[in-house]
Symmetry: C2
């Protein structure tokens, strides 16, 4: 648990429902309001139009970071994915994630950069304008460590990468391009949970070729569109799991994006046990998303 009293200053910290700012005139992420955010650490621009297409800025209310405490190595950044307030998901998002991971990798104290996107109130979003977040951490997160350990055991038992095996499960395949596949995972915790993985075995996201990163971004946009159709625009989280920055290439681990729709609620049983209850087989979710336009 990170206790971050800076975040207590955040508007609406104790309220039940987050603020929705529909009017782009008061949205801190809309063009013209750049002065409402801290200065950019990364900007992409459209040379033709002379405007920015993506900005990365430090979070004004950091959960962790040098901003809050110079003793603690860490940072909390916001990716403003598009200048358009009503866009769904930016076209350069995953490229920006890779760029920022390569930046933080130069800092020996940063062991992991966690990318995540919250979309919709039920998924924890407090602003409507399309944005995502990065938290640079001085430790490898507990869940990532669990995945690393679990996949190492799988490799020991089977002599193969668990994630490469997932790519061979045709009945759970949702989408395939030259570079990536989207699949319904073997044990979905949430209804319509979807993972996107590179077809080539690769443990470190930041080492992936730009073309594959672009294919990932395209597949993510398609999956969100299918999800919007199949499940009536649900709130969702997207998270990236990848090998820790300063570890060597791992033959048992394979980076992947997890898309976690927040359709079924997480209740007492899940908090108590760490187990999830799902009423539908992953093959059925895969079929529904494959058939969705």
């Amino acid at each position: 648990v990170l206790i971050s009293s800076e975040r207590a200053d955040r508007p609406n910290e104790f309220a039940h429902a987050p603020v929705h700012r529909n009017a782009s005139i008061e949205c801190p992420f809309c063009p013209g309001n750049e002065h409402l955010t801290p200065p950019e650490v990364l900007t992409y621009t459209d040379r033709g139009a002379g405007t920015w297409t993506l900005r990365v800025v430090p979070n004004k209310y950091p959960a962790i970071g040098m901003q809050a405490d110079p003793e603690i190595a860490g940072a909390h950044e916001v990716i403003i994915e598009s200048p358009e307030h009503h866009a769904t998901l930016g076209q350069q998002l995953m490229r920006a994630v890779r760029d920022r991971m390569l930046y933080w990798k130069q800092d020996e104290r940063i062991r992991y950069v966690q990318f995540f996107k919250n979309s919709g109130e039920a998924a924890g979003a407090s602003l409507e304008h399309p944005h995502s977040q990065l938290i640079a951490l001085p430790m490898v997160p507990a869940r990532v460590r669990e995945e690393l350990d679990g996949s190492a055991r799988y490799f020991e038992d089977h002599g193969r990468c668990f994630f490469c095996d997932e790519l061979r499960e045709g009945a759970r395949l949702i989408l395939e391009t030259d570079q990536v596949q989207a699949v319904a995972p073997w044990a979905p915790r949430f209804g319509f949970e979807t993972w996107i993985l590179p077809k080539a075995h690769e443990s470190h996201f930041e080492n992936t070729e730009p073309a594959a990163v672009q294919a990932l971004n395209g597949a993510l946009r398609i999956i969100i569109g299918k999800l919007d159709e199949a499940a009536a625009h649900p709130a969702y989280n997207v998270i990236l799991h990848t090998a820790p920055l300063h570890e060597p290439e791992l033959e048992h681990y394979h980076w992947h994006l997890e898309i976690l729709p927040r359709i079924t609620g997480v209740a007492g049983f899940e908090w108590a046990t760490g187990y999830f209850i799902n009423s539908t087989e992953p093959e059925e979710y895969a079929r529904l998303l494959r058939d969705s336009p």
Copy 2:
């Protein structure tokens, strides 16, 4: 992940918001509608009034259990805590939990009985009438195993029970009776998270004296009342963590109730890392709840 296709038949399984049945005339848990639930496995009655005061019935849509699959040892039960539709929390609830745990302990295949309560839509409740649930499992849940391991390490390092040490932290004390204490835990994941523990070291809830169980029930009702005042009637989960049924008394483990208010949302960062971000110190939550009427 438990895949339970029986639950797909549950009303509203795919809808965003659960049904609220305000009229007690159609509430399956109100007196007069007993035919809408499976037959009781436990009933408490008020001899004076000639009516039931609490009923335990098998869940009509079990997540696990002999009901669903005779090969899998397990059961999913619902505790109807009170005949009153608008009561907040039953007066005999924890006594019923103890009775059902003692019942399931006779079955060698059942290794753990998970008690949990979901109150409010944001906490996963689909019915308004006060009720809780029990899931009897053929394994010890992952999170319970983590707590057992963590507390064993603490005992090795400090020679004392972690939970007994929590009881000595006056600045985080919320409530104290002869038998139990309510405290803000050292690392609260949720705003106003509260634990209730017996003052005497006890690893197994089902071995606790009835008087202490009754004191626990009273303290739980007071804490929920304080929470309703301090945080405007939030949704919440209550879970019980106790030693596995067939393990001997443990000197490093201490049963406890966890009250998890669902005020701050759980978003991408938490799902990705297993870490939580909290903007307030536990001492401050304890002070707010102590001062709350």
